[in-house]
Amino acid sequence: MRATFSHKGRRKKEQAVLAYVARRIVYVIPIVISVALVCFLLVHITPGDPLVAVLPADASQELAQQLRAAYGFDRPLPVQFGLWLWRAVNGDLGHSIATGRPVLSEVLRAVGNTVTLAIAAALIGFTLGLLFGLIAGYFRDGWVDKLATSFAIAGVSVPHYWLGMVLVIIFSVELNWLPAVGAGPGGSGAWGWDWEHLRYLILPAITTSVIPMGIVTRTVRALTGDILSQDFVEALRAKGLRETDVFRHVVKNAAPTALAVMGLQLGYMLGGSILIETVFSWPGSGLLLNSAIFQRDLPLLQGTILVLALFFVFLNLMVDIAQAAIDPRIKRG
């Protein structure tokens, strides 16, 4: 197949991929603006005064007015949005009402810890998911398949915050092997790649990995099954290929879709970490979001959600581009 492509044909295809990438990037712009709008509006669907967190209960009307003007809450909504967006583009997401520190630096520091957790969880979840999915798809309806499918369905159905609690009960309370909360000895200090810190990562990472494990298993199992039932596999076997070589073809064909699913799952792990971070007091973006919600720290809430959503949009873009680069046959709309 590949040998038949002329040099010219390949260049044409590269151009098509590039054009797709360009279109996809342009398409992201309205999405980013809409996401910013949603984040901005979140604060304005909030009942009550956004200043309630900083204003003393007996504050005078003047003080309230001054503060409102200082935070810009006294201007019309579209103006506020324009100003907020302009500042956000320039890297200024305002200051946290509760701590007074810049929102962006707070969020980025926390996101670092969440990325550590998500990558550790992805390593566990994707490895197991790919393994289980391939085996289950290959030996469909056998006992291995049934076992892997059960694991997968349990993984996608388990309330992960509860699983976290159960793991803490087993490994921290009953066995006393691993720490129950935090991200390092002596409070939540700087992260380091040594055993003292890694001990804290094990339980949250396993807990985070079960959902991606389940979803990757189910996807890869279905993909493998579909590919194995296609004619070209029959042809490969008829040609006399060894089963290991047939397997290699299956993996190659399953890769683009599996990659897309894994990219999306990585995004979910980064953005949806609040429950697990709350269970383990893991000092990431989820825990930050939690405290922003309960201290009614609206600039921090807005900023955290915006950064996490943009991360997710960016990751989706990367996945689409990677998919187009790997498999130019992918239907591009």
Binding site: S34, P47, S157, V158, I169, T278, A309
Partner: protein, 300 residues
Amino acid sequence: MSELPIGAIADTALQVAPVTKARGYWATVGRRLSRDKVSMACALILMAIFIAALIAPWLGLADPYQGSMIRRLRHIGTPNYPLGTDELGRDMLSRLIYGGRLSLIIGILPVILAFCVGSSLGLVAGYIGGKINTAIMRTVDVFYAFPSVLLAIAISGALGAGIVNSIVSLTIVFVPQITRVAESVTTGVRNMDFVEAARASGANAFTIMRVHMLGNVLGPIFVYATGLISVSMILAAGLSFLGLGTKPPEPEWGLMLNTLRTAIYVNPWVAALPGAMIFAVSICFNLLSDGMRSAMDIRN
């Protein structure tokens, strides 16, 4: 007289024919589903949890709100308290069964609401197409730019804690997902011959959507929505677990898990019980959805 046997054969043929013909698509799906042991077991478990929650006041259980400081955190298997007591000395068995009421409502209602809104939007977008499709589907895309957990927590965090707010935020999370499924199914059905025939014979858009398309698109959307209930149960209880849903002293599984977290060093396994209920309901809905999907896939 010699005609009689032939007549009899014709009669039996006539009697048999309608029976085999009468079993339509849905009857076949139902029959296939009822033969699936896993799906039936899940349906039974769900039924038991539903009915127990429904008739809880008549089951002779202890008062789920009545606590006692002298019998706090009893272990599983204590006489009179088969599943122990919680951090305020309330009977766990009673709270778990009563807890099904709120937990199931806040978990299932968002999916039902989103099913109604999402399938209408998707049907309209898919059938009418053009600018309306673009408007609806591009709005849906914006919501897809948020991971669903983040979106649910952002909305209910902004709205504030409460049962209604948690239902609203979860509905907002699921509407785009159901709309997308409904739109793609509708687009697939729209160009089929029977819809073309209805249009040619002068049926208006509303009639075509209601009579000819609804029945064909609702099945796949329904299966998808059943699977969503599993996610919704986990998220709804998760919101309560964070303190964004139900408020104490209401018995609700997510909230119970939250308040019992402080007790994991004293009585760990009692603390884990509410989560096991969420898990059971969630996995049953997931397996049921899988069972329905394969039952509806008649080609297999």
